[in-house]
């Protein structure tokens, strides 16, 4: 197999899981403060999956989701995708815009802008934690948003990986608000070359 990600040791996977843990923990705290709700977060999954199977992590390629995408620049270029099932995204907009639950039925320009800002804040929190942990400074681009099928949105990231290999390394965390109204998936997908940089920064080569 030509993929470098297909041959990670248990130690390396643990290190990546820990990175996901501090990053997502910081993001969850940020989100919790914005919407003033308790957020539960699962232990991050670090998975190496065939590219075509990645959409199954969020329920399948034809599930309707809102995706906020950020490209990350620095010593370990990566992609960040924050995916919310459509109903979760609508509920989050209700909260952000001070509307009643269920009021948002489609996204207008302001709603999209609010969700992109959430993506921005979560990514910033994630990357800050990652910096504290690894000393690798990473900067996200301005976020972009799309509401569509999960497969279509994920393909943006998967195609980039497809040039280098047939597997994706995804560090993924699932968020849940305490009332179960909002579920979200936060993906950090390092570029193939970035993995070494991250692993050596935490001393697991």
């Amino acid at each position: 197999m030509s993929d470098d990600v297909a041959s990670l040791s248990a130690n390396q996977m643990d290190a990546l899981r820990e990175i996901g843990n501090v990053g997502a923990g910081n993001s969850a705290t940020a989100l919790s403060q914005i919407i003033n709700r308790r957020i539960d977060m699962n232990v991050p999954r670090v998975s190496i999956v065939p590219l075509g199977d990645v959409p199954d992590l969020v329920g399948g390629p034809d599930v309707m989701v809102v995706g906020v995408f950020l490209r990350v620049y620095g010593k370990a270029p990566s992609n960040i995708l924050f995916l919310l099932p459509r109903d979760s995204a609508f509920y989050l907009v209700d909260m952000l815009m001070g509307k009643k639950r269920g009021e948002t039925q489609k996204l207008d320009f302001m709603d999209e802008s609010a969700l992109m800002e959430i993506g921005n804040i979560l990514s910033g929190a994630y990357l800050n934690a990652l910096f504290n942990f690894t000393n690798i400074s990473l900067l996200p681009t301005i976020p972009a948003l799309a509401m569509d099928m999960a497969g279509a949105i994920l393909s943006v990231v998967l195609i980039q990986l497809g040039q280098m290999g047939d597997h994706a390394l995804v560090i993924e965390t699932e968020f849940n608000t305490d009332d179960e109204g909002i579920k979200g998936h936060f993906f950090l997908v390092p570029d193939p070359g970035s993995l070494e940089t991250i692993l050596s920064a935490v001393g697991v080569e």
Binding site: S2, D3, L51, G52, D53, P55, G60, P61, D62, M64, F69, T141, A144, L145, A146, M147, D148, M149, A150, G151, A152, I153, L154, S155, V156, L158, I159, Q160, G162, Q163, M164, G165, D166
Partner: protein, 161 residues
């Protein structure tokens, strides 16, 4: 209920009527179908990238237009399709996120569509239906009983090409 065959990302399936071949949630990828209306043999290919020679990982030939299309052609010929009767349809190739400074990789949908057309032209297979571009996802399917190629979207409804 006729058989519904799922075609994954970077994957191809061939078959005969009454099967329907379907691929879910295409973004910048392209769903390319080949169909022989007489023998009702056809195939559906879901490519991710235009050109295998530009890639470091090209073992999976169905990932690329330049290798995936000729491979699918061989498979449908084996099932009894005649090359002179084959027709192609293509859909997909969207750009899902709009960036001010879209890099090459962001425009990969457009390049995928271009590559698919060039490869089909070089093989002498006419394209009789096309729905490419835009900024939205598509679920595509071809019914091998009729050759009808359906494109489903979330906001733009469903159409046949």
């Amino acid at each position: 209920m006729p058989e519904l065959v799922k075609v994954g990302m970077a994957d191809a399936k061939v078959g005969t009527a009454p099967a329907t071949l379907i691929s879910y949630g295409l973004g910048s990828c392209i769903g390319i179908s080949l169909y022989d209306p007489q023998t009702k043999v056809g195939g559906l290919l879901h490519i991710m990238l235009p050109d295998s020679t530009q890639s470091r990982a090209n073992e999976n030939r169905a990932k690329f237009a330049d290798t995936g299309i000729p491979d699918m052609l061989n498979e449908v010929l084996k099932l009894g399709a005649s090359k002179s009767r084959l027709v192609a349809k293509i859909a997909g190739g969207a750009q899902m996120f709009a960036f001010a400074n879209a890099t090459d990789i962001m425009r990969v949908g457009q390049r995928n569509a271009q590559a698919a057309k060039e490869v089909l032209a070089s093989l002498g297979i006419p394209i009789i239906g096309e729905d490419t571009g835009g900024s939205y996802g598509r679920t595509v399917s071809i019914d091998l009983s009729s050759g009808v190629y359906k494109v489903k979207t979330i906001d733009k409804g469903e159409k046949e090409i």
